[in-house]
Amino acid sequence: MSDVQAGLRYTRDHEWVRTEADGTVVVGITDHAQHQLGELVFVELPDSGRTLTAGEACAVVESVKAASDVYAPVAGTVVATNAALDGQPNLVNASPFGDGWLFRLKPDASDASRLLDAAAYTDFIAAEG
């Protein structure tokens, strides 16, 4: 059973979003998503300073069997990326909600509340099978 953490927001593309005290949002992929992909061998992250529209493909997570796009869950500007993934992409597998975070955005407007909460995401992955 995949871990779904309370207090985070989720997308139907299996990303999680955590709003920080300073108003920025941290984005990663869910435990469910990393299980589906298998061991990651490469993570391609957006450059800091890049502006993203909501739903824009901005990162790629690549396992031995597939490369999948990661979409910006909200519109905003990239303020930081997880440099540790460069040498250790499998941090995403080991700690999808922690050390395996992907990038941090300064959102244009705080619309993260429109995303799914933990209960709605749990229902969504259950329905997806």
Binding site: V41, E62, K65, A66, A67, D69
Partner: protein
């Protein structure tokens, strides 16, 4: 049994499923002016004996002319064993292996090919080949635009010194993705360095440099590479693989080296055969490997620790990424690569170097002989195995008159480079003898004399 084993009923049922009236209507999007109604003398169907007769008859019309034309396809010696081995049943397939890991021999061959191309260019990783040199160049441009993280420019800078057909093919393949190909002008048969200042204020994802240039000259690759790198561009080397034996490998261009190398593999054991099939090569530095289209074979060990070969880095190929794949036209030319790999292993690095050196020497001898004829002048110094001659008559007329003497005199440059006047691109590979050069010289002498008399 018919070649396409569909009955009329099956065809009708499939057309019904997609709502098409007949098979021809599936091709409606191809404009009528691009279609041909038929080929002269070729009916809608032929028995095998009939088609064989037709092919022999048509092939004989070509005759066996003496070849002094290069311009992208070259008449080099191919040891007899190359195609004897390449056409063995175990190898004789034109395409990439499906059930790949069951084809260990094919995978090993591709692995050897990749290793040889990496060593020839000095770069890290080669793919299993592309369709031809021009498409390899276009893919190199697409790859550079995806890979260059320092700019989001959808523009690639190249030069009129690059083969015209490469620029045409690339322009067509790039246009669909909104990528523009910008050309630097010519100065003395190669890229005009003085023109770099004119493009300095524009951002480009890459600079693509031919070596040798199409007109047989050598580009200032060190200077161009450093100029491009200082402006956040990647550097694409478009090379003749045989001439690389004499020239500095792309990895050593400038202070940091080229990032991607590509070109036409035909000089490595592939017959000219009226323009194809050939194969393109594409090689890059390791950090760019995830943007490289096509297949890559790696060496590994199986669960018992025995060495074996496997397809690797497939996650971005079309069978997985679909429309988001690095390329959807990454055909590899399996059989051509098989021949090229056998060619390289038989001829060896020293043999390739001698072929290149002999081609250079023969081209110089040809130029020396021809420029003794009145009105024939060398346009630019000869560094490779091709040279531009300025003639006292239009090159098209000379080519046609020489062809009646069973000599392919060269490539008429007027359609692509009108600014060069009556210019002819000639090439004498290691295959041409002193007698061949005499025959060309005598024939050209009488063609030009006849022209003066007329």
């Amino acid at each position: 049994m018919p070649f396409i084993p569909h009955t009329d009923a099956e065809t009708a049922s499939m057309l019904g499923a997609i709502g098409a009236s007949d098979i021809d209507s599936l091709f409606d999007e191809i404009p009528p002016q691009l279609r041909i109604a038929g080929l002269p003398g070729v009916g809608p169907g032929f028995p095998e004996a009939g088609i064989t007769r037709l092919m022999i008859e048509r092939a004989e019309r070509d005759g066996r002319p003496l070849c002094f034309i290069g311009a992208g396809s070259y008449d080099h010696y191919i040891p007899a064993a190359v195609w004897e081995v390449a056409t063995r049943g175990e190898f004789y397939s034109a395409y990439t292996p499906y059930q790949a890991e069951a084809s260990q021999g094919t995978l090993q061959l591709i692995y050897e090919y990749q290793s040889m191309m990496a060593s020839l260019t000095g770069l890290d990783v080669s793919n299993a080949s592309m369709y031809d040199g021009a498409t390899a160049f276009a893919e190199a441009c697409l790859m550079a635009v995806r890979a260059n993280r320092k700019t989001r420019a959808r523009r690639v800078l190249t030069t009129r010194a690059l083969a015209p057909v490469y620029r045409d093919v690339a322009r067509m393949m790039l246009a669909g993705q909104g990528i523009e190909l910008v050309e630097l002008p010519l100065g003395e048969g190669r890229t005009d360095l003085a023109a770099l200042g004119n493009v300095e204020n524009h951002e480009f994802a890459a600079l693509a440099i031919p070596q040798p240039a199409f007109l047989g000259t050598l580009e200032a690759v060190d200077e161009l590479t450093d100029w491009a790198h200082a402006r956040n561009m990647l550097v694409i080397a478009v090379c003749n693989p045989l001439m690389l034996a004499l020239l500095k490998p792309p990895r050593q261009w400038g202070s940091a080296g080229a990032d991607i190398a590509c070109g036409e593999g035909q000089p490595l054991g592939i017959p000219m055969s009226s323009g194809g099939p050939y194969f393109g090569f594409l090689v890059c530095r390791e950090p760019l490997v995830r943007q490289m289209p096509g297949r890559i074979v790696g060496r590994t060990v199986d669960i018992e620790g025995k060495p074996g070969f496997t397809l690797t880095l497939q996650a971005r190929e079309q069978h997985i990424r679909r429309s988001k794949a690095t390329s959807n036209i990454c055909t590899n030319q399996g059989l051509m690569v098989t021949a090229a790999t056998i060619f390289m292993s038989m001829v060896g690095a020293e043999g390739i170097r001698r072929m290149a050196a002999a081609s250079h020497a023969n081209t110089r001898a040809l130029v020396a002989a021809l420029t003794r004829l009145p009105g024939v002048r060398l346009a630019f110094p000869v560094f490779g195995h091709e040279a531009v001659l300025q003639l006292p008559r239009p090159a098209a007329e000379v080519v046609s008159a020489m062809s009646a003497r069973r000599i392919l005199a060269g490539f008429d440059l007027a359609p692509d480079y009108p600014e060069l006047g009556n210019a002819l691109l000639v090439c004498a590979t290691e295959m041409r003898t002193a007698e061949d050069i005499d025959r060309y010289t005598d024939a050209l002498g009488s063609v030009l004399a006849a022209g003066r008399a007329a």
